[in-house]
Symmetry: C2
Subunit: 104 residues, 2 copies
């Protein structure tokens, strides 16, 4: 994933509950349809114990807005609040610069 | 950590090597002095297997710039490239909006 800034990042930091019912399936489905959503540039997600950070990258704010309005995504967010997450913060941020390192 | 946007996020996504020599100690030291650095608003870091995402939050670009110039941080970055990281991407992003959820 190597888009050129500026583009947008959605940083989702979460703390999970102990309820795993349907979680993995829903996350897999969200990643699948998220990556196919127009304007999505990429997605990375890491979890450790009950902590998780997921960052999705987007062409512009309109893409993020239309992703927020996808029915399956709305359902997943609702289930997330009811069952899977103790707390979370979502941040919308404009990527201004980036640099990468790769071992030769 | 509840600053009001706008503020800055540094998103550091990495893939580790198998070399752990000195890694944990250095990360702990970086988190310690990073959090004390003027303008640092918070820090979160999650790793899973060889994948890691760390996000630090900053008052402004000048704080990030001065953090980049800290001697111990420069040394850690050098060691990171030589030993601990297969690859990484650092993104500087301006947080424009945020919303949080906390289970009642």
């Amino acid at each position: 994933m190597k888009p050129t800034p500026p583009y947008y990042a959605v940083i989702f930091s979460s703390t999970r509950t102990d309820d795993n019912d349907g979680y993995q399936e829903t996350i897999a489905h969200m990643m699948d349809i998220g990556l196919k959503h127009p304007g999505c540039l990429g997605l990375e997600s890491v979890s450790e114990g009950d902590q998780g950070i997921s960052v999705s990258y987007w062409k512009d704010l309109d893409s993020i807005k239309s992703w927020k309005a996808v029915t399956d995504h709305i359902t997943a967010q609702k289930l997330g609040r009811e069952k899977w997450y103790k707390s979370y913060t979502t941040r919308i941020a404009k990527v201004e610069r980036e640099y990468s390192f790769e071992k030769p």
